[in-house]
């Protein structure tokens, strides 16, 4: 059975989905397994990311259920998520999470 959708969410906890085809501004986002339909707010090329929920400035971008970057501006659902509104993690942001985790282990 074919399930028609135009975007893919790699993990239920993600706040972005990957466009599976070139998305046009105005069309509805249909994400596999999700009932809510979000309106695409700008043209987005396939393979690129679209926000599926409101992401605040300095908020985490979640893909694969992991934090893949930090928002550098507010991003509303349906908007393109890429280098102009996302930065990579700073060293201290990355390392802390593991050290905290290790500490939990040792305690």
């Amino acid at each position: 059975m074919d399930k028609k959708y135009n975007a893919l969410k790699l993990n239920p906890n993600d706040n972005v989905a990957v466009a599976l085809k070139n998305l046009k501004s105005g069309e509805l986002l249909s994400i596999q397994g999700e009932k809510d339909q979000i309106k695409v707010m700008e043209d987005i090329s396939y393979g690129h990311k679209v926000a599926t929920s409101f992401i605040k400035n300095e908020g985490k971008i979640m893909k694969y259920g992991e934090c893949m970057g930090i928002a550098t501006a507010e991003i509303s659902p349906g908007f393109h998520v890429h280098v102009f509104n996302v930065r990579g993690l700073k060293n201290e942001e990355r390392d802390h999470s593991f050290i905290d985790h290790v500490d939990t282990f040792s305690s």
Partner: protein
């Protein structure tokens, strides 16, 4: 529980193939090794240019790789060709005989004409082939399988379709009591903290961080910086935004299971479950390391299409996009491009890969086996002396 018919070896391991192989211990004998293999149909030559004039780190790695290859559960018998009183051939023969493998070493030396050696080798291989045909299979289950995870010739879809599907499959295998080994240390740079968090204990997590850091330093020594060079402009055009995202796309082949152990190149895991092996991203060297570590089957995602395989291990190719499957189906076993077309979910393709693994374990040939893609290379750590 999923089962397959495999070959039980005297040391207790189980193989999904029953190969007879011939290997050189020193580079000088590579040509002869191929020549002897040609004399007996079905024999697979495994040749390399290491084994001599190497620093200890390379020598040890060569021994580990050759031993793991010759003593692999997919190998019924292995013949070594050595030179004079070749210490490497002797050591390998003894190590493997201690572990009850059917191996033999023959030597080129001054009191034996070359043609004699050729005759002796041919005879041993013929007997080994006959012997392999009498070996019976027995039923085994997925708890005895070790699956290697690899990607090569990646494209913008790799991290979206094939790799997450391999990850789903890896999680199924681990759930069912089997083992999967993720490799390619280079490709974890940038997301190492994420994988480290999944470690079973801090020691395993720290070891993983250590090998990633070492790899990064080695690259820096050549004047390159992975962190600042990635994602590349091409990656960005394809939709990748950060280094974390790019590396996540690679390491998601390992799914979401707990990281049980971090092992050296060509080392066998001592635990079941999800494992990481320190290998380069260079496909053929990485696959050779995974195989030598005991993986009976390797999963290999490819976006641009890569035909490579292994001399002893079936490699299952998972294509990332529909077009690749259309134009290069001769090299692809599973089409994860169906995820893009909305025909299947990631989990469904994960399940399809799982079924492909079981079919392959039962003897079904993979694309790389059909095309005799038997590439082999050992990861080098120093210049030749």
């Amino acid at each position: 529980m999923q089962t397959f018919e495999g070959y039980r070896r005297p040391n207790g391991s189980i193989g999904v193939r029953n190969h007879v192989i011939v290997m050189n211990t020193v580079g000088e004998l590579a040509s002869f090794t191929k020549k002897i293999a040609q004399l007996v149909p079905g024999v697979i030559p495994v040749v390399h240019q290491g084994g001599q004039a190497q620093f200890p780190e390379d020598y040890k790695q060569t021994i580990r790789t050759l031993k793991g290859t010759a003593g692999h559960p997919n190998v019924s018998s292995a013949l070594f060709l050595g030179m004079g009183d070749d210490p490497l051939a002797k050591e390998l023969e003894e190590l493997l005989k201690d572990d009850n493998h059917h191996v033999h070493a023959i030597y080129f030396n001054k009191d034996k004409p070359v043609s004699e050696v050729l005759k002796e080798g041919k005879q041993w291989l013929e007997e080994a082939m006959d012997r392999s045909k009498t070996e019976k299979t027995e039923t085994a289950d997925v708890t005895e399988l070790i699956i290697g995870l690899e990607c090569g010739g990646s494209d913008a879809w790799s991290g979206i379709t094939a790799n997450p599907a391999i990850g789903a499959c890896s999680d199924f295998i681990v759930r069912d009591g089997g083992t999967s080994i993720l490799a390619e240390t280079t490709e974890a740079i940038g997301a190492e903290h994420i994988l480290a968090k999944r470690a079973i204990d801090p020691e395993v997590g720290k070891k993983f961080l250590k090998i990633v850091k070492e790899y990064e330093e080695r690259i820096k020594d050549t004047g390159e910086d992975i962190r600042s060079a990635n994602p590349t402009p091409g990656n960005m055009a394809g939709g990748l935004t950060t280094l974390e995202e790019k590396s996540l796309g690679c390491i998601k082949k390992g799914g979401n299971s707990t990281l049980m152990e971090v092992i050296d190149y060509a080392e066998a895991p001592s635990k079941k479950g999800f494992i990481f092996m320190d290998t380069p991203g260079y496909d053929v060297e990485s696959v050779a390391g995974l195989a030598a570590g005991g993986a009976q089957i390797v999963l290999f995602s490819t976006g641009k299409g890569s035909p490579t395989g292994s001399p002893i291990v079936p490699v299952i190719k998972i294509g990332t996009n529909p077009r690749l499957y259309e134009i290069m189906s001769e090299h692809i076993d599973v089409n994860a491009g169906k995820i893009i077309e909305g025909k299947n979910t990631i989990e469904e393709i994960g399940e399809e890969i799982y079924q492909k693994i079981m079919a392959t374990a039962n003897g079904s040939m993979t694309a790389s086996e059909k095309h005799k893609n038997q590439e082999f290379a050992i990861w080098r750590l120093a210049e030749t002396i």
